[in-house]
Amino acid sequence: MEILGTITLLIFIVTLVATLLGWIKMPVQTVLIGITLVNIVLALIFFGLQGMADELRLVPADVIGRIILHPVTALLGGLFMGGVLGAAGGFEAIKAIVNRLRKTPLGLAGTLVILINIPLITMLPCGRIIAAALLPLLFMFGPEGSGTLRKTQLIVFIAAFARNSFGSCGPSPVGGVAQIAEGTLGGATFPDAAAGILRGPQVFSLMIGTAFMALFIRFVTKRLYPEDTVQIKDREGGVEPEIKVNWKGYTSLIIFALALLTATFISFIPSLKFITVQAIFVAASILIIIVCRVSLGDLMTGIILMPATAMVAGFLAAGSLYPTGGMQVLQSIFKGLAAFPLLGVVGTLVILVQAQTILPLSCSRILTAVFVPLIYVFGKGVGLTDLQIGIVMAAYIINATTSCAPSPLGGAGMMAEGQLRAETGYLKGAFSFTSLAVMAPLAAVFMRFITLDVFARNPQTGQMMFTATWGHLGQTILWSLVIMAAAYGLIVVMSRLITASLGRNRKVLIASFGLGGVLCGISLALALRLGEPVAGTSLGVSLVQGIIGGIIAAVLIALMIQVSFAGPPLKENVQAVEG
């Protein structure tokens, strides 16, 4: 059984890495389905050889049973809504509303900030739902459209929007990724965990992560386009083209907003709890179809098959590891790492937290379904308290939801890159870096100081504790500021070091990632230590362990990013801009 587990796990990881590095040039679905089939065939052969022929019958059901159906159907339901909304002109209505907002005291800057954060406000189960429709509209702010923004500004704007939208699946209450972990955390310590224990940290670190992503891209882009100070297309006489939106657009937008609100808050009404998100979305789409007289075909135009199919294929591939014993092998590998003195429990946890960014697949749920139970079992195994497991889980989930952005396998970040007409990989570095150095530590800090105290139950009395104090608030802000300042320093220094040479840029990239990893390791180790001691190590030892783990994870991430953020050499680039 162990041999079989090792072989299947090796097949899984090696094939995925080969696909990520571009050695296997096939759609990710094909690769994953291939892994599944190979693993199942191997399992059949092994079981057959061992004389466990009657075990064979249950293998297919076990594999198919690993499909988590809810996020797939919720995502497809959301995409239906997107398609209908687009056809009815709802997104045009958003544009008109934004145009109107610009003339209020909010001004252009405030409007852009809100626009960037629309995905975080709507919180759909997949960022693609809203990004697919809104990205082309946002692109029209740039030189090719109304010319409101310059090219560098546009790059920052689109990248920040993408970052925000592709993290929004984390805090979503309607089939979000965090729900997988919330339930696992639920139990004696956090009986109400499913009511949103992970959503606060997610939102917090996503907000700040978006801003840092924008900062990162700004510094890098400034180096790539040093001369980009003029607007490429002047506005003709300052007159902007008027956006015409008919009543259909506004109506559909209102129905959409109502459906979203219903979906968000329905779980708080006990008598209506049974209505699922999918049902609400389908009903709302059909309502829009009837009211706004959109054709039924428009329902389907919004569907992006890629995430749904990749998700199913990924669940199948990961599921094929269960009956073959690959999961036990994975667990024992991490246990072995934890026994290694230089890495220790803290170092292993830091690597585990980054596991998904190291293997960025096109949808985070593929591996989250594997890793969340693994982290829980691992944490219990090495003697972490429930609070500490909560901290690790918060940091893990934010990294997991981020992992679809830097994925080269049709990850969501590619939508932004494609929209910018850039080679794949231009934004990947920034996405990975912010999730490594800023978002995971911040989520851990927020979880440690604010959320856990709200959710934890007093072990003596069994009552819920509500002990978050002003001191906790101060500590949260202090720690966040320290982390943000360190990350800012890193970004500034790194952007200064970018030159015309790609090879040198790559070294800079790896070095800065390593430093980011150090930052991540230190803050995670501190957040864990501030709860209770970890596995009996002293503070200094756990700091060192965290740093080593962080560096290993960061270097692995940097190696997985094939194309560095520097893109083509500067010289050539400047020529291209000029010519």
Partner: protein, 199 residues
């Protein structure tokens, strides 16, 4: 010299799907791209088609199977695992109720038995925690019947049953069919199986 090194770097780093001699239009975009890279295509068109069909079929199976067996509710389990909060209030000592629901969805007998599904007495404790308010007792009850039928047909591996018996994962209501089946096997294979005392 420096140019050569740079080119080498570029080839090593980037995916080469473009004509390198062409000037750059935007970061990473060259003015002319090769028509079709034959080596990128391989002979994979039909494989991709088949894989996609496999994906869709797997989804179809995952939804139609519970429908066919009278447990349509399982299709909208969030798998948020909120039911784990039942903890020691579960009289059947089941710790992972969500696993049972998922096992019921695809009729995964092994998972259902080993996670303690046959211990369920359908008290409805876990239902109060369910975020989607599924009728968990009904689902588990239906599944228990199906498991018993499967055991009688000899569909469930004996290894699973022996393990479940040893771990006390078979509730007293279902001991009889299991023991009967094992006894039948005992007659065939002469393996010693302990006969539990009922009532």
């Amino acid at each position: 010299m420096a140019d050569e090194k740079q080119k080498k770097d570029e080839q090593k780093i980037g995916r080469t799907r473009q004509v390198e001699d062409q000037p750059v239009a935007l970061p990473g975009i060259r003015r002319f791209q090769s028509f079709t890279n034959v080596e990128d295509r391989m002979l994979t068109k039909n494989i991709n088609r088949a894989a996609m069909f496999g994906v869709a079929a797997a989804m179809g199976v995952a939804v139609l199977k519970p429908l066919f067996h009278g447990m349509p509710q399982t299709t909208y389990c969030y798998e948020c695992r909120a039911c784990y909060a039942t903890q020691d209030k579960c009289p059947g000592r089941i710790t992972e109720q969500a696993e049972l629901t998922v096992a019921s969805r695809v009729l995964d007998y092994r998972r259902f038995i080993l996670k303690g599904g046959m211990n369920c007495i359908r008290c409805g404790n876990c239902q109060t925690f369910c975020a989607a308010h599924l009728d968990l007792p009904k689902i588990f009850g239906t599944m228990q019947k199906l498991v018993v039928a499967a055991i009688e047909e000899g569909y469930v591996p004996t290894g699973v049953l022996a393990q479940a018996l040893a771990e006390g994962k078979i509730g007293r209501d279902y001991l009889l069919p299991v023991v009967k089946y094992m006894q039948k096997l005992k007659k065939e294979t002469e393996k010693p199986i302990p006969e539990p005392e009922l009532m």
